[in-house]
């Protein structure tokens, strides 16, 4: 296995993978972020207490919601793109086009939900 890669973090960050690289990174951050969020959310709901309440207060904050919703929605829509292309591998040559379609689906849904969260947030709800 190619386990000895000898690639520094700096080189990794300078890798110019373009759109597909960007969605991979966002998908990974989103997956990690959701796993962290869901874990803390389950723990705080299960154990309650002061720390639990503190965690749930952060989650109910609209700034946090705008942030987490970006990653949840992105992971879900990008995940559907990955699934479709992987189950029908003949489509893989069109992955760049698929990624454009993905942004076209993601942006309006995210913009609408972010607008709703922002409006309720600013109204003090």
């Amino acid at each position: 296995m190619g386990l000895k890669r000898n690639v520094s973090l700096g080189t990794g960050l300078r890798y110019k993978g373009g759109g597909p690289m960007l969605v991979f990174v966002l998908h990974r951050i989103g997956g990690l972020g959701m796993a962290t969020f869901v874990t803390i959310h389950i723990l705080s709901s299960f154990f309650g207490g002061d720390i639990g309440q503190f965690a749930n207060q952060i989650y109910e904050n609209w700034v946090f919601q705008i942030f987490i919703f970006f990653f949840v929605l992105f992971h879900a829509i990008n995940g559907l793109r990955i699934t479709i292309l992987d189950l029908w591998p003949k489509l893989i040559p069109y992955q760049r086009e698929a990624i454009w379609v993905e942004w076209a689906v993601f942006l309006p849904i995210y913009a609408l939900a972010a607008f709703v969260i922002l409006r309720t947030g600013l109204a003090g709800g």
Binding site: V38, I82, P89
Partner: protein, 144 residues
């Protein structure tokens, strides 16, 4: 090989080890979560979300159809959202998402932890995490 594998069917690519079975599971669970989430969103709309919930609330209920997720909305009566039926849907989503998420963490860890011993520890921790998160989640769903 690289150009050919694309033309093979899923089964033709060989489901021989745990990793490749989980590769398929990750994709099928993605579709499964889509089905459950859409189902919960449609259910919420039928139960009156159109008038009493905003889009963000509906999506939050969709991602985890637990009654606590409608507590802060304008829904006058949350009882229809707390039926055993929705608790079953929420449980299915919880179990599928936990398995998917925890295995995803293993995939990420494997990219950075490459020694055999390290990977064994990662797997042990992942099993503990999966079982405990599933049990705590089920407890929360069925008691809320």
């Amino acid at each position: 090989m690289a150009s050919k594998s694309r033309n093979l069917s899923i089964t033709g690519r060989g489901l021989t080890n745990f990793e490749s079975i989980m590769w398929v599971f990750t994709r099928l669970s993605a579709l499964g979560m889509y089905a459950l989430i859409l189902f919960a969103i449609i259910g919420a709309l039928i139960m009156g979300a159109r008038n009493n919930m905003n889009m963000a609330d509906v999506l939050r209920w969709g991602f985890m159809p637990n009654v606590t997720h409608v507590a802060s909305t304008d829904v006058p009566d949350t009882a229809p959202f707390a039926t055993p039926f929705w608790k079953l849907v929420a449980s299915a989503l919880l179990l599928v998402a936990t398995a998917h998420g925890v295995h995803g963490l293993v995939v990420i860890a494997d990219d950075y932890i490459t020694s055999e011993g390290g990977r064994k520890i990662v797997r042990l921790l992942s099993i503990i995490m999966m079982v405990s998160m599933s049990l705590m989640g089920l407890y929360i769903i069925w008691t809320s």
